[in-house]
């Protein structure tokens, strides 16, 4: 269990397919424990696909297939006796567009614990309060927990989604462009929240915003696209991991020319 405590999740030779189509090739990546790791890269480079392979959300897409190994706590997540439901409870996810359930704030946060079978009102109350406090939402909503989650502002909704995720006490939180639908002030609030959460959780964030990656992350992985002309007019495209380094190193002394061009804004 403790063999590789420095790393929360390790991806080994991961290839991901959608049906016959190769989406991501040969990803090798070790995600540091209780750090923020950012995935950046141009559209279509497969960074979200890799993120979703970490908690097996790709299983929900018909035809999606993962080769290689994703190791979490020395266990292969794609092993035969591993239940995807358990994986997702330990590795939570926050999505691009805030997606609270059409229920009250309270029920949104209590949803995860209730799935696990927790019914005791007192325990649920505690979990809800703690999770909302952790996500800096408590002071704004504590008087009105019965209000619909959909009645909150976009930024509040996203923090509610984070509260909902940490209510089941995962180890790792995956965030798929969590701020892309938010205004700068709400984005700021989420970034502050991430810096606080990382004291307890490992965070992996996919972002289109390179400044955001620089501001919040400890490590950055840069993905890019490889192409191959198959036959006349038909092109094969897949994503690869180009470079993975501490954020400061990657942005200041990238070791690949492609990385440098991308962070200078020359493509993508």
């Amino acid at each position: 269990m403790t063999t590789n405590r420095a790393y929360a999740v390790e991806l080994k030779d991961v290839n991901i397919y959608y049906g016959e189509k190769l989406a991501v090739k040969d990803v090798n990546l070790s995600i540091a424990h209780q750090k923020i790791t950012a995935f950046i890269g141009p559209s279509g480079c497969g960074k979200s696909t890799v993120l979703r392979s970490i908690n097996r959300m790709n299983d929900l897409i018909p035809g999606a297939k993962v080769e290689g190994d994703v190791v979490y706590r020395s266990q292969s997540l794609y092993g035969r006796d591993i239940d995807a439901v358990e994986v997702r409870r330990r590795i939570g996810m926050v999505f691009q567009k805030p997606n609270p359930f059409p229920k009250s704030i309270y029920d949104n946060v209590a949803y995860g614990p209730r799935l696990l079978g927790i019914r005791d009102r007192k325990v649920l109350n505690e979990i809800v309060e703690r999770s909302l406090k952790h996500s800096f939402l408590w002071d704004e909503v504590k008087g009105d927990l019965k209000k619909s989650g959909l009645a909150l502002s976009g930024g509040q909704q996203q923090r509610l989604c984070i509260a909902r995720t940490i209510a089941v006490e995962p180890d790792v939180i995956l965030m798929d462009e969590p701020c892309s639908a938010l205004d700068p002030i709400a984005t700021q609030a989420i970034e502050d929240l991430m810096k606080e959460l990382v004291k307890q959780y490992t965070i992996v964030i996919v972002t289109h915003n390179m400044q955001q990656a620089q501001r919040v992350s400890d490590y950055t992985a840069f993905y890019s696209i490889r192409k191959e002309v198959e036959t006349e007019g038909k092109e094969k495209r897949w994503g690869v991991l180009v470079e993975y380094a501490p954020t400061e190193t990657l942005f200041n002394q990238p070791s690949h020319e492609e990385t440098e061009r991308y962070i200078r804004g020359e493509f993508g």
Partner: protein, 442 residues
Amino acid sequence: MNGLMDDAAFSRALKSRHRRGNIWQRFFRLSTIVALLALIALFLNIANSAFGYALQDYDIAPTELVEGGDIASLDNARLVAMLAEHQPRRLAVYVRDTLSMVDASVFTTLPLSRVLEGRSYPEALASATIPEVTADDLQTILRDNLTHDQLVSIIEEQVIGINVLRTWSLTDSLTNRAQIEAIAAENPRANLIFRSWLDLNFLSSPMSGNAAVAGIRTAILGSVWVIVITVAFAFPIGVGAAIYLEEYATDTPLNNLIETNIRNLAGVPSIIYGLLGLAIFVRALETITAGRTVLSAGLTMGLLILPVIIINSQEAIRAVPSSIREASFGLGATRWQTIWNQVLPAAMPGILTGTILALSRAIGETAPLIVIGASTFILSDPSSPLSRFTALPIQIYQWTARPQPEFRAAAAGAIIVLLILLLTMNASAIFLRQRYRRKLTA
């Protein structure tokens, strides 16, 4: 115009573009007006038949039978005695029509223990046949088995004998008053009354061979029983199939074939479902359904609307945003937890709306009921899934087919009831949809 077209040409073209637009707009408005006129004509036509003057007389006026003329205030014993006094030879006929458990052809030859199996009759007569039973005993049997309502309606029909001599439509009643009164004056024994064929008595009376006292209680109860069984059968199976097809089934050729077929089944004419119901529920499963019963009809109607419910439910389930499913899965929900806690509640308004609309189709369906053999004349209310029955559309069909014009007025009254029922169901579907939509967005 940057050389694309000069200004004069542009304004000429613009005029013709507007003109073409206006023609279409007028056509669309005309279509709406035609549809509206058709609807108004329908309502007026029905109202025209359902209300108006009627010329009625009695064989024996109620006031001659009992002081004040209120038959319903008498008890069963007095009613039976009255029946025996005025129609002494027909007592056995009433037993046959209302109480017999056997076919009419063997009614006079089988012993009472068979003829009145399960009814109450004097012990001593168990082995006697009907012709051997005395008039007094027949009275006892009628008194002990019939309800007060049944007796009252037999008296009204057989003793009082209200006869509708003539009816007039609403338009005639309003415009030809003088002529109508002149005709009425030729029949001094008859009374001219302005009659609404749709009234409380009409709703609460059983069927009758006499239009003046006929009602639709039996038909309403029959329709309600059929619909209840239809829902109980089609809703869980339909929603279940929709959940399976949307949430579990993968994109295999077999599943695609199943889906296509369900879509086609929704378009199969209802009479075909009637034939299917006749073959399966009435004939093959007769031991379970007891033949031409409420149960057979409900199951047949269930089959009829099953594809519609499946399709509507599938659409409602598909309309649930995938972000909600992902959020649920992302928190470690199993597939079933996601369906039960998120997908179904979000899809429920759509599912309910679709189901109610399908039911309002079923409640007006006539063809399958005719095919599986709903009774066209039945006096007893359905009391269990294994009862014989009639239904509103059957009743309407049967009445409009009769030669006597007064039955068409009664049919118009029944049509109004059916339409009100349909409008209520459709309105509740709209109400449900609006309410849930508010809930989901606020």
